[in-house]
């Protein structure tokens, strides 16, 4: 997450004046975590995996082997982007095997956290492709 260092310093000053142990800021590009460590406030890098776990995100994995495409070949824009909302069954990306495409579908109504595989990367069955946060529709499954 790219944040203005002056902003981080200001937040750290404010945090140091409190008894709050951890301050975590989440954005579409990642997470900033500030931790009280004795008399200083430390900024910690948060890896994408921790990031996902923290948000109780789910990972949509590759349904097969192929080349991951973040968009349909006819489209100019990626099917899924951080923050984009999708209904269950809508495509979040595609797997290409020769001329055949398989959809990487949203397993439920969700908001995309991040696309984990690179456009054009060869992936195997089960490779994490897209991190999503399910939307609670209030319906019992």
């Amino acid at each position: 997450m790219s944040v203005d260092p002056a902003f981080v310093a200001q937040l750290s000053t404010w945090l140091a004046a409190t008894d709050i142990a951890v301050l975590e800021l989440r954005g579409p590009d990642g997470t900033l975590r500030l931790v009280q460590a004795g008399s200083v406030v430390r900024s910690e890098a948060v890896s994408p995996v921790e990031d996902i776990a923290a948000a109780e995100a789910e990972v949509v994995a590759a349904p097969g082997v192929g080349v991951f495409l973040d968009r349909h070949p006819l489209r100019l824009e990626p099917a899924a982007a951080p923050g984009s909302q999708h209904a269950a069954g809508e495509p979040l990306g595609f797997l290409r095997t020769g001329p055949i495409l398989q959809a990487v579908s949203a397993p439920c109504d969700c908001i995309v956290e991040g696309v984990l595989a690179a456009h054009g990367a060869t992936v195997g069955f089960g490779t994490p492709l897209v991190a999503i946060v399910p939307i609670d529709t209030g319906e019992t499954p």
């Binding site: 349909h72 006819l74 489209r75 209904a87 595609f94 001329p99 055949i100 495409l101 398989q102 959809a103």
Partner: protein, 328 residues
């Protein structure tokens, strides 16, 4: 059945065309993009020539009266089933009562104009002279011999069939063709090619021809350099086929398309090879097209290339179909 809910302007039932009836004065009709039609049918496990609905004007909405497997190929018109996005060039399944809306094509990696709504088992209209295509001049074939209208119920045949939800990469990506960055089609010199001036012959190959708004299933009127014959030409009407590039007295060429009349008398400077008619059939009015010179052997190779693409798609999609058996 498929109920036409909205926007049926100029949508017609088409298959691969009514070949073999030109001697009766009956044109071929058929899909303007036969590759998209065949690909949609391959995705659904149909015969390649099963009839589908060709849609040139958007938005277009249908409602499925029964569970139906379908695929929308051709131009990317952002298909949505009850508002939920489904990918283009994909086999999908609709529940009874669901509506499919095709929107005006937006920016795309492939500028194309026509979509094909293919259904498992094909559109089940009567076969006339060996084809289900709509013959507009004769007002027969297709759905009651006319374009579809809002409220029409178009019959389908055993459309609720099991199969894998897979898609195909459109052939334009595997079979690209352009000249100097302009989409191109390959052209054979035709009978009167030598009757045109050297300048006209050079222009045929060098001009980026503009497809004017006066272009439809009958023919594409082009704008560009004036093509002049060496001496004024007068010909008796003779048989012509889709792809023929005629030059009327004004010197601006016309390419005869699927609904062309089967005869004409304008001099012919060239003919777009059959293997490239699908590219031309998708070229949007207002866009430009280049003609690439081609030999008879190259034209046959191009046809074989299309065949190979379809065979490969059918083979791999067929594997998926077998793997998907026992599914929905």
């Amino acid at each position: 059945m498929i109920e036409i809910v909205a926007g049926a302007a100029l949508a017609t039932v088409q298959d691969l065309g009514r070949v073999g009836a030109l001697n009766l004065g009956v044109g071929v009709a058929g899909a303007m993009d036969p590759m998209a039609l065949a690909a949609g049918n391959i995705l659904l496990g149909n015969e390649e020539g099963a009839a589908a609905i060709e849609i040139p004007v958007f938005p277009f909405t249908v409602r499925f009266t029964e569970p139906t497997r379908f695929a929308v190929t051709g131009t990317d018109c952002a298909p949505a089933l009850d508002g939920k996005a489904v990918p283009p060039w994909f086999a999908c399944r609709a529940q009874a009562g669901q509506s499919l809306t095709l929107s005006v094509p937006g920016p795309s990696a492939w500028r194309a104009t026509r979509a094909y709504l293919c259904v498992a088992g094909g559109i089940d209209v009567p076969v006339v002279l060996g084809s289900r295509s709509t013959q507009m001049r004769g007002a027969f074939g297709g759905h009651e011999g006319r374009p579809l209208q809002t409220g029409d119920l178009v019959p389908t045949h055993a459309a609720d069939r099991a199969g894998p939800d897979v898609g195909l990469v459109p052939p334009v990506f595997d079979l690209p063709l352009d000249v100097d960055g302009v989409p191109a089609v390959r052209v054979l010199p035709a009978a009167e090619y030598d009757a045109f001036t050297p300048q006209a012959q050079a222009s045929l190959w060098s001009c980026a021809w503009k497809i004017t708004p006066q272009s439809d299933r009958y023919g594409f009127r082009l704008a560009g350099d004036e093509l002049k014959p060496r001496v004024p030409l007068e010909l008796r009407s003779h048989g012509i086929v889709p792809g023929v590039i005629q030059v009327p007295h004004g010197g601006q060429p016309i390419i005869q398309m699927r609904d062309a009349q089967p005869s004409g008398g304008y001099p012919k400077i060239g003919v777009v090879i059959e293997a490239d008619l699908w590219r031309l059939g998708q070229a949007p009015p207002g866009s430009r097209i280049r003609f690439a010179p081609c030999t008879w052997d190259e034209a046959l190779d191009a046809a074989a290339g299309n065949r190979r693409w379809l065979d490969k798609a059918r083979r791999i999609a067929g594997l998926q179909h077998r793997a998907g058996e026992g599914g929905r």
